[in-house]
């Protein structure tokens, strides 16, 4: 996983609520068996509209997505996170996220930042007024700064530490092999197997 410490970049405003993962990357693109190359499919249907925000010249090179509430609902497809990451995003800032999407983000190294709706609104307004504004997202200090705004965000320490160090979850769990084996020895014998 890509480590995340501090990121500074320009933002793009996707001012819509309840953006589901079907919109982020549609099912037809989930047939690929690769882990990379999903960027071109990001918001593919919406990008057919030349006025869609990601198509505007000022959106080129943006690395922070400012989104509406309940971002990433629906399907568990991690491809949605891969598409955002492959497109170049490092951070998504929203008033709230769907659980699976948020979890997938933290496994991949795309930072989901929850800020109060009024703060997200203020950031959106500032970026829309001046798209060249840069925002800084500091995971160490749990702080978003820019556009005259400075705001702390919450993230649990375990996830934060993993992201800061770019640690692989599987590697961490395998350190506890003894505990897994001890647990397995206690499982009732009548539990089902697929054999």
């Amino acid at each position: 996983m890509q480590a995340f410490r501090v990121h500074t970049g320009r933002a793009v405003v996707l001012d819509r609520a309840d953006v589901d993962t079907d919109q982020i990357v549609q099912a037809e693109h989930l047939k690929r068996i690769e882990r990379t190359g999903f960027g071109p499919f990001l918001f593919a249907e919406w990008r057919k509209d030349p006025d869609f925000v990601l198509n505007r010249p000022e959106s080129r090179g943006t690395t922070i997505l400012l989104a509406g509430p309940n971002f990433g609902g629906g399907s568990s497809r991690e491809h949605a996170v891969w598409a955002l990451e492959d497109h170049g995003f490092r951070v998504v800032i929203a008033p709230s996220f769907a659980d699976i999407f948020r979890n997938n983000c933290t496994k991949v190294g795309l930072l989901p930042v929850v800020l109060p709706p009024e703060t997200v609104r203020a950031l959106m307004d500032s970026v829309e007024a001046n798209p060249s504004i840069e925002l800084t997202v500091d995971l160490e200090g749990k702080r978003v700064t820019g556009a005259g705004i400075e705001r702390l965000f919450e993230i649990d320490d375990y996830t934060r530490q993993r992201l800061l160090e770019g640690l692989d979850d599987i590697g961490l769990t395998l350190r506890h092999e003894d505990e897994v084996r001890a647990f397995e020895a206690t499982r009732p014998s009548w539990l089902p197997t697929t054999a």
Partner: protein, 456 residues
């Protein structure tokens, strides 16, 4: 011990490791795998030189991509299914490929085989894994990184969810099905009403549902944003499970029953949140918008938009506020998906269309949830009821629920669908989805506009 909820009990018995400041590490009893969210996970194992820790607790099927009718196959889909076949061979995982009698939608075959049992932790790289909660299992949808984690370790680090009781008390009115119960719940609590929580469906209306009905309810927990949804096991559950191929047998069955009977929320256990719903207020529902919370009863009209999201939804759906739901005319009727493709769903729909005909010009299809459901339906003669009425009768798969195979809506086409998501483009680019129960879908196919069986 302090009184605890069902979800907490199942959680506690799966904690492999608990440490201050870390998520609990949970043991996974059953890992279901399908072709779409697994190839990158298997590749991750290969890169790291890791094995599947418990192939005997892992089961794979092909469902999302599979064609449900003869015809040319999409080479990209074929490649993905071939990858699953190769991965299952290389890592020793049991697979139900296309053409196999056991093949079907991942959330239909687990219960059908008796693998889905009370008190288990079940995961799958699919958000509708919550379906298995109908048996009192804690069943969670996960992403591909987590699929790889479970393949490698048979465990999953999970932060503790909140608990939420959804109590539906009273007798369900005639014509109100399990699908209407869950659509009614989501209409009340919203698409993010369950975020961070495990929902426990309770009350006499839930108890009165069959296992298939409970699966339909639990299936759409994710549509309320919930981490999972479950129902305490009871005699209905045990009767469904007994004698299924993977259910415990003989003395093991007795031991299992004794254990399962304890899987209830204790009296006085506290939920973090509680919602109470009067079952007698529920009606058949039809969604009008582009998320499952945008739903009204079949007696209503398309509502006036109250925000920008609703305005966008109305524009996408090509609907005017004030239009009666019964006046809306779909082009397509789809009966299928992990929400409503089980034998009881097909029976309900067949009862409505028996001796009637699909409205001319309307395309109607039935896609059974598994090849076993298909076979059973054919033994009961349901296939003939459907085909004589003008429905297409297909092989098992996810099909038009998400349009990964050729079963798709054309732009602007409108569909009455028994599936779970009415998102933009979900059933095909530009397609317009209305979520309904199997009975309403069947009646709508006959009438050519949304209606209930009583309207026919």
């Amino acid at each position: 011990m302090a009184p605890s909820t069902l979800a907490e009990k199942v959680w506690e018995r799966h904690v492999v490791r608990r440490a201050e400041g870390e998520p609990d590490l949970l043991y996974v009893d059953l890992h279901l795998v399908h072709e779409v969210t697994s190839p990158q996970a298997f590749d991750g194992l290969r890169l790291a030189g890791r094995a599947v820790r418990r192939p005997d607790l892992t089961l794979a099927t092909m469902d999302h991509n599979v064609p449900t009718a003869p015809g040319p196959e999409d080479p990209v889909s074929v490649r993905q299914m071939d990858a699953l076949r190769r991965n299952c061979e290389d890592f020793g995982v049991r697979l139900f490929p296309t053409g196999h009698a056991g093949q079907g939608i991942v959330h239909v075959i687990g219960p059908q085989m008796g693998l889905t049992q009370p008190g288990l932790v079940i995961v799958c790289g699919d958000s509708h894994t919550s379906t298995h909660g109908a048996f009192g299992a804690l069943a969670v949808g996960i992403g591909t990184s987590e699929v790889e984690h479970v393949l490698a370790t048979q465990t999953l680090p999970q932060s503790r969810p909140g608990t939420m009781a959804i109590t539906v008390e009273g007798d369900l009115p005639h014509g109100v099905s399990a699908k209407d119960v869950i659509l009614g719940i989501i209409a009340r609590i919203g698409t993010n009403g369950g975020v961070g929580h495990v929902l426990e469906y309770r009350g006499s209306a839930i108890r009165s549902l069959s296992m298939e009905g409970r699966m339909t309810v639990c299936n759409m927990s994710i549509e309320a944003g919930a981490r999972a949804g479950l129902v305490a096991p009871d005699d209905t559950t045990f009767a469904y499970l007994e004698d299924r191929p993977h259910a415990p047998k003989g003395g093991d069955w007795e031991r299992a029953l004794e254990d399962w009977r304890g899987l209830v929320t204790d009296d006085h256990a506290a939920f973090d949140r509680e919602v109470r719903i009067d079952a007698t207020e529920l009606r058949p529902y039809v969604s009008w918008g582009t998320n499952p919370g945008q739903t009204v009863t079949i007696d209503d009209a398309v509502p006036e938009p109250t925000d920008e999201t609703a305005e966008r939804a109305l524009a996408y759906m090509g609907l005017q506020p004030g239009t009666r739901i019964r006046e809306i005319r779909p082009d397509t009727v789809f009966i299928g998906s992990c929400t409503n493709s089980r034998i009881s769903d097909l029976r309900e729909a067949a009862d409505v269309v028996r001796g009637r005909a699909v409205r001319p010009g309307l395309r109607a299809m039935v896609v059974p949830g598994s090849m076993l459901v298909k076979r059973q339906a054919e033994e009961e003669g349901l296939d003939r009821v459907f085909t004589q009425a003008g429905f297409e009768w297909r092989d098992a798969g996810c099909s038009m629920c998400l349009g990964m195979n050729p079963d798709q809506l054309a732009p602007g086409e409108r569909c009455a669908s028994t599936s779970n998501r009415n998102f933009e483009g979900r059933q095909g680019k530009g397609g317009r989805t209305h979520l309904v129960s199997p009975a309403v879908a069947a009646a709508t196919a006959v009438a050519g506009h949304f209606c209930s069986p009583e309207d026919l």
